[in-house]
Symmetry: C2
C-alpha cells in the first residue's frame, strides 16, 4: 500500500486513552505498510492556549515521549513539529480565500468546541480558522489517509472542499483529497460519561498515569446510577466501565459474559471496576515502562530530523501551490 | 527623523489619482528624511481576486512602474512584494489568535467593503482576515508611521490593539504600535461623486491614462445637477470638479475665486471642466513620460533587491515573535 497517512496531536497535555483508541492504535498498525507523518500540532494548540504558550512548549516532548512509549517507530514515521514547518502557515493564509465565514461557522466540530469552550462573542479568529490550518497540514504532505475520531469527520470534509475548490479554480491537480479512517471505537467517552475524554474536561486516563491514579479514576467512573444493589439488573449502555472494557479488554467473549451477567443482576460495580483495573494496569504498565527512560535530548533529535524531512516535502508542495496561484515573479 | 514608514497598494490594477492624493504624495515627501517600506500587496489583492490571480501577477510590475513614475526613489525606499516575504504569513497566523470574530466584523472599513462587494453569507475568510495580515505587514518592519486615507484609520486602530494584546500577554515590547498619518485630502471621491475613486467602481483617473481618457473622464464628472444654465448659481459642495481642483490645482487663490464665481452664477460646467483638464493634463504628462521607458527587467531587479532587504528585517522580527511565544525548541 505505502500510502501517506497524517495524524496529529495538540501538545496541550500528555496523551490519554482517548488518543490511544481514537488514533495511536491505528498509527502503530499503519506504520507497518504505510508512510506516516505524525505532527505535534503546537500552532493549533496555541489557538486555545495562546495565553499560556509555555504549556504548549512543555508538552511537545511529553507527547513525543508518549508516541515512542506506545510503539511508534521514528524510523518508520516522520514525527515533526508544526511551527517548525512555516510553509504550513503560508498555505493556511492562501487557503483562507477558499472558505467562507458561513461555512466555517457551520462546521459541527467547531460549533461543538465553541460551545464547550464558552467562546460566543469572544471567539478568537485563530480558533475559528484552525480547520483551514488543518487543511494545510493535510495537503502539504499529499496525504492519502487521515485516521480520525468520528467527531473529526467534518474537518476532513471541509479540507476536501477547499482542495476541490482550489484545484477547480486554478485548473490543477496539485492538491490531493484525503480519506478519513475512523477507528473502531473512534471517540472514547470520559470517565464521567458525559463528553469525550479530554485533558481540559479532566475526565481522561493518561498513558503516563501512575497505577494509583488509574485505579482511582476507574473507581470514580460513571456506571448505572440506578444499579444500587449487586443483585439489581444493571444497564451497560452508557456505562463507562463497559465502554472501556470493550475498548481495552482482549477477551471479547469475557466482556460479553460480563455484560450479560451485569444486565441480569448479581454483578456489582466494584467487581467490574476491579476487572477493568486489571485490564488497564496490564495495558498501561509496559507503556509507562518504555516511557520512563526516554531522554529529552534524544526526543529533540528525533523531532529535529523528522521536521527537516517534513519541511522538504512541504516546500515542494508550496512551490506547486505558488505556481498554480501565479505567485512566482522572480 | 528617519522613522520607519510603511505603505502598500493592492496590485489589482494600475494606480490612480485617489492613490496619489491619499498616499503617493506623502511617500514622495516622506522618503526625504524617513525610512520607507513600500509593499506591493499581492497576498492582500488575492483576497478579493483569488479567482483571477493573473490580474494580480500582471499588475505587480504596473504598480511598481507607477511608483517610479511619480518619483519614488528605490534607493531611498524599500519596494518589495508581499508574497515573497513569507514571514508575513506566519505572523498573520499567530496574530489571528489575538483578535475575535466580533472585533473583525465590527471594523467599519471591512464592513463597508463587505457591503460594497455584496459578500454577505459568502464572505471569504481571507477577506475577513486581511486586517490581521495588515497587522503583520505593519509590525514586521517595526513601522512608526502608516500614511493612510481616513477610511483606513480603523485598520491602524485594530493593528495597535493586536500589538498591545500581544505585548501584554507575552510581557514583551517586541511589537511596536504605529501612528497613522492622514493625508490632507486623504480620500478622493470618484468621478461619479458617489464613492471613493477605485478601479473596481470604474470611477478613477489612472496615472497612466492617455490625455484623451483624462479629458473624457473629466467631462463625465458629477457636478451640480441643478446647475442647468451658466447664469444659475451653482453648488461647490459635492461637486467633483471642485474637489479635484482643490486637490491638484497649485494656485489655491484661483480655486477660491472659481468657487465664488460658480456659487454666484455665471461660470459654466464646461469652463470649470476645461480648467481642471488643463490642471490634470499638466500634472499627469510628466508622470506618463517617466513611466513609458521603464523596462520590466529593471523593475524586477528593483523588486528583487527590495524584497531581499525587507525579508531580512521581517526575519529578525519573526524570530523575536517566536521567542516571545515560546516557539523555539531546537
Amino acid at each position: 500500500m505505502n500510502k501517506v497517512v497524517l495524524t496529529a496531536d495538540r501538545p496541550s497535555g500528555k496523551l490519554h486513552l482517548g488518543h490511544y483508541v481514537g488514533s495511536l492504535v491505528h498509527r502503530i498498525q499503519l506504520q507497518k505498510d504505510h508512510r506516516p507523518y505524525i505532527m505535534v500540532a503546537d500552532v493549533q494548540a496555541l489557538t486555545d492556549n495562546f495565553e499560556h504558550p509555555e504549556r504548549v512548549a512543555e508538552n511537545i516532548l511529553e507527547v513525543t515521549r508518549d508516541y515512542l512509549a506506545v510503539g511508534i517507530d521514528p524510523h518508520k514515521a516522520t514525527i515533526f513539529v508544526q511551527s517548525q514547518v512555516p510553509e504550513l502557515t503560508e498555505m493556511t493564509v492562501y487557503f483562507l480565500n477558499f472558505v467562507t465565514l458561513a461555512r466555517l461557522e457551520r462546521n459541527p466540530t467547531v460549533k461543538a468546541e465553541i460551545a464547550q469552550k464558552g467562546y460566543e462573542t469572544s471567539l478568537p479568529m485563530g480558533f475559528l480558522c484552525y480547520p483551514v490550518s488543518q487543511t494545510a497540514d493535510i495537503v502539504a504532505f499529499k496525504t492519502d489517509i487521515v485516521p480520525v475520531g468520528e467527531d473529526q469527520l467534518p474537518m476532513i470534509e471541509l479540507s476536501n472542499e477547499i482542495v476541490r475548490r482550489f484545484n477547480r479554480i486554478y485548473q490543477t491537480e496539485v492538491l490531493k483529497e484525503a480519506e478519513p479512517l475512523v477507528g473502531k471505537v473512534g471517540r472514547l467517552v470520559g470517565i464521567d460519561g458525559k463528553e469525550k475524554a479530554s485533558k481540559s474536561l479532566n475526565n481522561a486516563i493518561f498513558l503516563a498515569d501512575s497505577p494509583e491514579d488509574i485505579r482511582q479514576k476507574i473507581f470514580s467512573m460513571f456506571t448505572d446510577p440506578h444499579h444500587l444493589k449487586v443483585s439489581d439488573p444493571g444497564t451497560v449502555e452508557g456505562n463507562v466501565v463497559f465502554t472501556y472494557l470493550e475498548a481495552f479488554h482482549q477477551d471479547k467473549e469475557e466482556v460479553a459474559a460480563l455484560k450479560a451477567h451485569y444486565q441480569r443482576g448479581g454483578l456489582g460495580d466494584t467487581a467490574i471496576k476491579e476487572r477493568l483495573n486489571t485490564t488497564l494496569q496490564t495495558f498501561l504498565a509496559p507503556i509507562r515502562e518504555r516511557r520512563a527512560p526516554l531522554k529529552d535530548a534524544d526526543l529533540k533529535e528525533i523531532l529535529h530530523t523528522g521536521t527537516q524531512e517534513a519541511r522538504k516535502v512541504a516546500q515542494i508542495t508550496l512551490q506547486e501551490i505558488r505556481t498554480a496561484m501565479h505567485l512566482c515573479y522572480f
